[in-house]
Symmetry: C2
Subunit: 412 residues, 2 copies
């Protein structure tokens, strides 16, 4: 894409009321637009990142057999009353609204109830199990505070998967597969080195749930991390008994803050029982379905990447989720840059081509801010040398590469 045609402009300053580093950089780069606290729109560059994150998650959810669906935001109170989650006294972050022709509705902050009720139409026998469904769906949460940029939204895109089983043992087996899928996702997104499986509080049906915590100063959770073992314990369950159970020693644990980028939870029959989601087992008896839930907030992941991987010049996108692979910067060499742009896009490389009328310094500063993995400069100097100047955004020195070398370097 030609940058002169991109409608968004970079900005020197973020809005004054913005305190989160992720939102500051993303707004300055034109990735997102702030509607109000905790409510962000995605502009072309940001949407490209979000869609790449979505696609990685989709592939890994499909790999564990998940089937994609899309539920609705509007919620009928009746099913939420069955699980005692309609009343504002039990759930404090509902957005509620009214139908013109009478009746109150809620905006889903999660979808356990809706999906469990929907599944009553489709699950009746043990032969229908196990199965799992997932969606990328907008959640609404009426947060009192929303000061973490795109990491804590009042409206945000979430991937939530729900699994359905005949027994706790079958759930356990799937749960482990889901845990591995989550680790793959964070690895592929570029957060693998910073993200740790964290033991957190469970519920009636299991002692622990598991969070995926990305270590960051911007995190809102306190966790105790064993880097050696690659696991952590959330402060909420951090006590001697738990440490003994997990075979962890206080001395090996580091107190850090983490961003909860994902969580997985054994629900048991918490929702299927009150909503009456049953299956007939092999003996002809009707039994409540056993469930699990598995969430990832896409904006939160994107925010966590910005928080952990950016430097003082701007964002540093991992290649897997970068809006473009190459930032082609032209400095008084229109024809040559245009020709290279065509060559690169012809072989399927995603290029943002900075063809704007702007000083070299301005273009380089924007390139650092936008954080595209490979910066390729075409200028009078590079033409003279017969080579292109290539620099990786995540560090490393400038390389001078001839055209063939450049193409094979970037095709990798």
């Amino acid at each position: 894409m030609k940058q002169s045609q991109l409608f968004t402009k970079t900005r020197k300053e973020a809005p004054r009321d913005e305190v989160a580093k992720n939102a500051e950089l993303l707004i300055r780069g034109g990735f997102v637009h702030k509607e109000m606290a905790g409510v962000y729109a995605y502009l072309p560059l940001g949407l490209r990142v979000l869609k790449k994150i979505e696609q990685i998650i989709r592939e890994e959810m499909n790999a564990v057999g998940g089937q994609e669906i899309e539920m609705t935001a509007l919620q009928d109170p009746e099913v939420w009353k069955k699980t005692d989650r309609w009343d504002d006294a039990t759930v404090d972050n509902w957005f509620k609204t009214n139908l013109k022709n009478g009746g109150e509705l809620g905006l889903a902050f999660t979808h356990e109830e809706a999906i469990t009720a929907m599944m009553c139409q489709h699950i009746s026998s043990y032969k229908d199990l196990p199965c799992s469904v997932y969606q990328f769906q907008t959640k609404f949460r009426n947060e009192q505070r929303a000061k973490s940029g795109i990491m804590r939204g009042r409206e945000f895109l979430m991937k939530d998967l729900y699994s359905f089983h005949t027994s706790p043992e079958d759930l356990d087996a799937f749960y482990e597969k889901a845990k591995e899928a989550y680790q793959k996702i964070f690895e592929r997104i570029g957060l693998g080195d910073h993200t740790f499986v964290t033991f957190a509080s469970g519920g009636v049906f299991s002692k622990f749930s598991h969070e995926f915590q990305t270590v960051s100063k911007a995190g809102e959770d306190t966790i105790y991390l064993s880097r050696e073992k690659g696991i952590a314990v959330n402060k909420e369950v951090y006590n001697d008994e738990v440490l003994t159970e997990l075979g962890l020693n206080k001395d090996e644990l580091e107190e850090v803050t983490g961003i909860e980028v994902g969580n997985i939870f054994k629900l048991g029959t918490r929702f299927s029982h009150p909503i009456d989601l049953k299956f007939r087992n092999e003996n002809g008896e009707d039994t409540s379905v056993v469930m699990g839930s598995y969430g990832i907030g896409l904006g939160r992941v994107m925010g966590a990447v910005v928080e952990t991987l950016s430097d003082d010049k701007g964002i540093v996108w991992p290649e897997s989720i970068a809006p473009f692979k190459v930032h082609l910067v032209e400095i008084r060499a229109k024809d040559e840059a245009e020709a290279l742009y065509k060559k690169l896009t012809d072989i399927g490389i995603e290029v943002l081509y900075d063809d704007r009328e702007l000083s070299a310094g301005g273009k380089f500063a924007d390139s650092d801010l936008l954080g595209i993995p490979y910066r390729v400069v075409v200028s009078g100097k590079t033409i003279e040398s017969g080579k292109y100047e290539v620099k990786k955004r995540d560090g490393g020195s400038i390389q001078m590469l001839g055209e063939e070398e450049l193409l094979s370097f970037l095709k990798k």
Copy 2:
């Protein structure tokens, strides 16, 4: 995909409260799930159709230079007060809600205001124009009546594009391009023969807007159609003066009902003026940006396809938006069907493989209901003949094809 693994089940009956044919068939086929009147979730088969419609629209919007973004549902009242569209006395279909920490919010029923306000950050000079942005975004409309299935939702996915120009003339040129793009979209989706550009009421800035009306008994609009000229006039502007202006004669017009699957509208400065979206022109003067808007409801398009193209046995999907291209039906020939399934998917053909334990009659009835374009039967009889039985869902007789013939027939 193997049908035995698809979690949705077909149903003999639709819910009793469902009166719309589109929703009846889509619910029976397991394409959608009804949450409540006017609120439908998309299940795997339905989501596949929706995503294909989305991708066709995306390609045509990109082709006219549109840049994809995603705005938010939650709306700050301030900007809507500027255009006098916040008050329930002027807009009667708002869903409104309250922030925990004070203040009312709206759920966007459209996005002119939000996008115009956002553009103030990015447009300042004539050099930034023209440009256009679009999104696939959920709209919320507090409809009094919602009895048309997925064609009139209280919550529904819409593609809305907004264009920005220096002058009415520049808007006019883009508007014509958008009109052609819309015609291509309906053509590609399979509604081309049934869909007509229809003159409808304009606003302060233009005499007419244009609707794209799909002729159907299920339509809610009355239009006067000249099949010969391929255009129609909405009842709301149907009068002698307009007919004369359009060169139409009453005798050549047929009164029919239509489903409004798209509409395009010249907004002029209706929104940019009150929201103060200006650009500096070549003479250094600040002037209001001239705008247009262009909408398509995706669920409505999908519903219109079902309304117009289905028969008494079920849905008939056009190939371009079908959930799968081939419905492979196995009748007591597991090994052979499995082998063909593998061959077809290996060459990139999308196959739903009915490997369920079910009678041939049950499978054929489901196949007709689901409406996948090509039904391929593998049975003892076909194995004996060394050929496969192929039938197009949209009519035509049964063909017997050998393997090579079949592969080349389906690869087309």
